[in-house]
């Protein structure tokens, strides 16, 4: 088997300095190979977003090791992690996190600009693909929740990263639109060999995945029973 693009070994994350709450992550481990489409399935509060933040280098683990494309995030340093996010990684936030002062188009274009391939046409195409043609010049507060989510997805895919981490990519969409977006997302990734990891608590998302990981109280377990799909 090829070297995994994402490898997480015994990851712990404890938010509180005092020990009142259980840690958000309690020794999670996982390996994801290049080009895989993986669903991370788990209940609310099980630690999915926490894990994603750590993989993207947005936060520091309490304990454990994360390797992305064979490189230890801790050893990469701040600069290396920034470059990773800038060029290699696309991130779709659960709460979109669009910049309020930029239009839909600019939010997408920003991502291209940071990745050093500014091309307005590419940004426009990406918005068209997520079904937002004609709404390029709206500000985030002039878009519906689902529309904002689609801008966030366009922002992640537009720079053609090698890994996309999507936290609840369809949480705000109706089933039809959700399926459409998932179709697009997985199709794009499979086509270009992009690794896609999606966090979700909706079982229909899992249908698009090659592999399903299950998150329970801060621990990742491989889904083998097909129980999720059966539901």
């Amino acid at each position: 088997m090829a070297e995994p693009v994402i490898r997480v070994i015994d990851l712990w994350k404890d938010y509180a300095d005092d020990l009142t709450n259980a840690p958000a992550l309690r020794g999670s481990s996982l390996e994801i190979s290049a080009g895989e489409v993986v669903a991370l399935f788990g209940k609310s509060g099980s630690g999915k977003s926490t894990l994603f933040n750590l993989i993207a280098g947005l936060d520091h683990p309490t304990k454990g090791r994360i390797e992305v494309e064979g490189q230890d995030l801790e050893l990469l340093g701040e600069k290396g992690r920034t470059n990773l996010r800038r060029f290699r990684l696309g991130f779709v936030f659960q709460f979109f996190n669009l910049l309020p002062t930029l239009t839909a188009f600019e939010n997408v274009f920003l991502s291209l600009e940071l990745a050093a391939k500014p091309d307005a046409a590419v940004a426009r195409d990406a918005l068209k693909e997520v079904g937002l043609a004609g709404k390029e010049h709206r500000y985030p507060n002039e878009l519906s929740g689902g529309e904002q989510q689609r801008v966030a997805i366009a922002r992640a895919i537009v720079k053609r990263p090698s890994i996309i981490l999507a936290d609840e990519p369809t949480g705000n969409l109706d089933t039809a639109t959700g399926n459409q977006i998932l179709d697009l997302l997985t199709h794009r990734c499979r086509e270009s060999g992009t690794t896609l990891v999606m966090a979700t608590h909706a079982s229909f998302t899992c249908r698009y995945a090659d592999r399903i990981l299950r998150m329970v109280d801060g621990i990742v377990v491989e889904e083998t029973s097909g129980e999720v799909l059966a539901r």
């Binding site: 933040n53 993207a56 947005l58 936060d59 520091h60 701040e78 600069k79 920034t82 470059n83 990773l84 996010r85 800038r86 060029f87 990684l89 991130f91 936030f93 709460f95 979109f96 996190n97 669009l98 910049l99 309020p100 002062t101 930029l102 600019e106 274009f109 920003l110 991502s111 600009e113 940071l114 990745a115 985030p140 507060n141 904002q148 922002r155």
Partner: protein, 828 residues
């Protein structure tokens, strides 16, 4: 432009009201500094220029150590081989009919030509009916030349009359005067007549070829000063005043920078979440810093330029105030506000940008260092911010400790004292976070009582947004403390002055005016002989040099003063006058501290017949001069200095004298017959208080400025909080809060922060007042001010705090009501 930068700059128009407030914040800060510093510099420079102009090309000046100099000395000077040129001068002040005091010079036009050529070049345009032309200056005993600026101001031209308290003078020409000081010029012989100084001049200006030879021949009995010594003596005279201006400039700088700092800090804190997003998209730290710096610099640049312009206009106002103070206290001066220069704009911009960068730097560093995930989670959570607050307080305590050491270190430079005071303010301002945490339950209770649920939510908001509210409270508190501190200091000083007046100014009537109208000796003799009069004190106050620096000597009638006044003595009582009666002196507290001279010590002054020794009989509190005052009996003074001038005569009457009122009337009549100004005790006291109040006009302006700063500080903070929580407001409304309740909440947040700031400032302001009195004043003026606790400054500051908090809350409340009912719930 990079989109990263664009995303930041779009906030400026988007949150226009906040941007304008921030801009005004920077502008006010810069204006305070530019206005204060520039007017101080201008006033002091014009002082130097006036001194230079007056001494002209003279290398030296010569005069009796005290009082006027006999004309008879001139003959000897004319024959002295070292003297290249000499010119006798009468240098006085003349009060114009409109109340202004102007400098009056009496010179010999031929002798003076070499010293002050500008004056010799006067354009004399005699009236048509007077054929004498330029000669009329010598011939007509009311002929004067005035400088062009004064002529313009009074709309006088050749031939018109200049009305003065000494009669009408005929203007026969004008001359240009680069110093900007109004000047009236008369032939010396006529001047002697005008001031009844027959046979005397005030000094002789000299151009010397051989200084040491000259000194050898003349030093005995005369004070000979080189031009440099003279201007050094003049500057020394202004020393403490200059220091005071410097302190005020520093204060302005502190307040201004503090305001800009806060403004910039808020601007940065506002971008916390955006920074997180950008970082998570892979933006580099420097790209974010560059975007911030652009934003901050735009604010700093425009605000700074605006501040420069406002500051320039402030200068015009402050320069006049400072000029008035210098005139009242030291030296006649009417400084021209400096002309506009692009440097002002440049300085404003530099200051605005510099201080903004300083203010933005720390939070900026903090933000780009925070893990993006944390930054994304929004405002710093309560528990975390509490910990930060305690860490900040620790730093505050450390700074307070250092400041305390600076303040109690004995005999250090006054700047160390300033540093201590500013350190104190900074230290205290760092404690606000912890204070807010500590008093949260109390505040919640109080606000809950006042505003029920919205009140409780308001208290919670203040606690939750500690990162912002602590800074706002700190800034507001510092400004209010300044107001309380300066107010109490001025109030205490004024009370001390009143106490001093009650102790020293016990005469019924005061005849004559120092520097304006002297009292003839014959009048003194006449009054002294009046039956029923308790006593008459012939007061003479003159500047002499002691250890080469200017101090003042006063001569009094010791037995009269002993009987009728009760000076505030550092030690002992009126028996201290016994020493004075025996030929000794008593000295002011400032003299004692300045030269380290104690009661019982012996000191030497240079008199008209060489050095004379005096024994110090006592030390008294005094606020008339920070240079030091020593008092001796008139008999001693006449023996040592031979100066018979009497500046003013105090008439004392026993309070139980049945003919008191008649006596007063009689003296008044006698004085008026001689054209001498008369002041009653209460008039004199009132005029002294007026000078005092004028002197503190500048300080009061700074106090007003501190209040403006306070307003912008709290308004900016509230508006920022409001902007950030518009989203929350929508939620509150969705939860069933009425618009009124949300308005109450906003109002109570403002009032709550205002109240906490005010409570803190009561303590900090009182300490500040004590520091100003016991460290700054004592060290720069060498006098003790007694601390009189007064309600005034506290009440006044409370009103200010209330109005500022209400004003600051007004706009957000208006916004709340206006956007009803469609409040933003959606993520902005």
């Amino acid at each position: 432009m990079k989109i990263v930068t664009k995303s930041f700059l779009r906030y400026l128009p988007r949150r226009l009201s906040l941007s304008l407030l921030q801009l005004m914040g920077v502008a006010c800060g810069v204006a305070a500094v530019v206005g204060m510093t520039m007017s101080a510099i201008t006033a002091l420079a014009s002082f130097t220029k006036a001194v230079e102009f007056l001494s002209g090309k003279a290398t030296h000046s010569m005069q009796r150590p005290a009082g006027p100099t006999e004309e008879s000395a001139l003959a000897g000077l004319a024959r002295d081989p070292a003297v290249v040129r000499f010119s006798p001068v009468i240098d006085r002040r003349l009060r114009l009919a409109n109340g202004d005091l102007v400098r009056f010079l009496g010179v010999d036009p031929f002798l003076d030509r070499a010293i002050r050529p500008e004056i010799a070049d006067a354009e004399v345009r005699p009236a048509k009916d007077n054929a004498a032309g330029a000669l009329s200056f010598l011939l007509d005993d009311d002929a004067v030349l005035i400088d062009k600026e004064l002529a313009r101001q009074l709309q006088l031209s050749s031939g018109s009359l200049l009305q003065t308290t000494r009669g009408a003078l005929r203007v026969i020409g004008t001359f240009s005067n680069p110093s900007g000081e109004p000047l009236v010029l008369m032939d010396i012989a006529h001047a002697q007549k005008l001031f009844t100084l027959n046979g005397f001049v005030d000094r002789v200006d000299l151009i010397l070829a051989d200084e040491s030879g000259f000194r050898g021949r003349w030093e005995e009995g005369f004070l000979i000063q080189s031009g440099r010594q003279r201007s050094a003596a003049f500057s020394a005279m202004l020393g403490a005043f200059r220091l005071n201006l410097e302190a005020l400039s520093l204060l302005a700088l502190f307040v201004g920078v503090f305001l800009i700092y806060n403004t910039a800090m808020f601007a940065v804190l506002n971008r916390r979440r955006d920074t997180g997003i950008l970082r998570s998209l892979g933006a580099r730290r420097y790209e974010i810093i560059a975007a911030f710096v652009t934003e901050i610099l735009i604010l700093g640049f425009i605000g700074g330029a605006l501040g420069g312009i406002i500051g320039y206009f402030l200068t015009r106002f402050l320069t006049a105030l400072i000029g008035t103070s210098i005139t009242d206290l030291y030296f006649f001066l009417r400084p021209e506000p400096s002309a506009w220069s692009n440097w002002i704009l440049f300085a404003g911009v530099a200051l605005g940008c510099g201080a903004s960068m300083l203010g933005g730097a720390l939070p900026l560093l903090e933000i780009v260092r925070t893990d993006p995930a944390k930054a994304l989670s929004g405002r710093v959570a309560g528990r975390q911010s509490g910990r930060n607050a305690h860490r900040t307080s620790l730093a505050g305590l450390l700074i307070l400790a250092v400041s305390t050491v600076l303040l109690i270190l004995p005999r250090t430079h006054i700047y160390v004292g300033f540093a201590g005071v500013f350190g104190f303010l900074i230290g205290v301002s760092l404690l606000t976070g912890s204070v807010l945490v500590a008093i949260h339950p109390g505040l919640r209770w109080v606000l809950g009582r006042v505003g029920r649920l919205p009140g409780k939510v308001a208290a919670g908001n203040i606690r939750q947004n500690l990162g912002r509210t602590a800074v706002a409270v700190a800034a507001f508190m510092v400004a209010l403390s300044m107001s309380v501190g300066l107010g109490s200091m001025i109030g205490s000083f004024r009370q001390s002055l009143v106490w001093w007046m009650e102790s020293q100014l016990q005469g019924e009537l005061y005849i004559g005016k120092i520097g304006e109208a002297d009292v003839p000796e014959s009048f003194y003799e006449e009054v002294k002989k009046m039956p029923g009069l308790g006593g008459a004190d012939p007061y003479r106050n003159v500047q002499v040099l002691y250890r080469d620096v200017p101090v003042y000597v006063a001569s009094v009638d010791a037995s009269v003063v002993q009987r009728f006044t009760h000076f505030g003595w550092l030690k002992g009582g009126n028996e201290n006058w016994e020493q004075v009666k025996r030929g000794g002196v008593v000295i002011s507290e400032s003299f004692s501290r300045r030269f380290g001279i104690k009661s019982g010590d012996t000191m030497t002054l240079h008199g008209a017949h060489g050095p004379a020794e005096f024994r110090v009989g006592g030390i008294f509190y005094d606020y008339t001069t920070e240079h030091g005052l020593l008092m001796m009996d008139r008999s001693t003074f006449l023996r040592v200095f031979g100066d018979h001038t009497i500046n003013s005569l105090a008439a004392f009457i026993d309070p139980d004298n049945p003919h008191r009122l008649e006596l007063i009337q009689e003296i008044k009549k006698k004085a008026e017959a001689r054209g001498l100004p008369v002041q009653t005790q209460s008039q004199l006291r009132a005029s002294i208080l007026k000078v005092f109040d004028n002197t503190f006009a500048v300080t009061r302006s700074m106090r007003a400025l501190a209040i403006v700063v306070a307003f912008f500080g709290i308004a900016g903070a509230l508006l920022t909080l409001f902007m950030e929580r518009r989203h929350d407001f929508g939620i509150y409304r969705a939860l069933g809060f009425s618009t009124g309740q949300i308005a109450t909440m906003t109002l109570l947040e403002g009032l709550g922060m205002g109240a906490v700031s005010y409570l803190l400032s009561m303590g900090a302001g009182t300490i500040l007042a004590v520091l100003l009195i016991n460290v700054i004043n004592l060290r720069s003026f060498n006098w003790t001010i007694f601390f009189y606790p007064e309600l005034g400054p506290y009440a006044w500051t409370a009103i200010t705090a209330l109005v500022a908090s209400l004003g600051a809350a007004a706009y957000p409340i208006w916004k709340v009501c206006r956007t009803y009912p469609q409040m933003q719930i959606r993520e902005e």
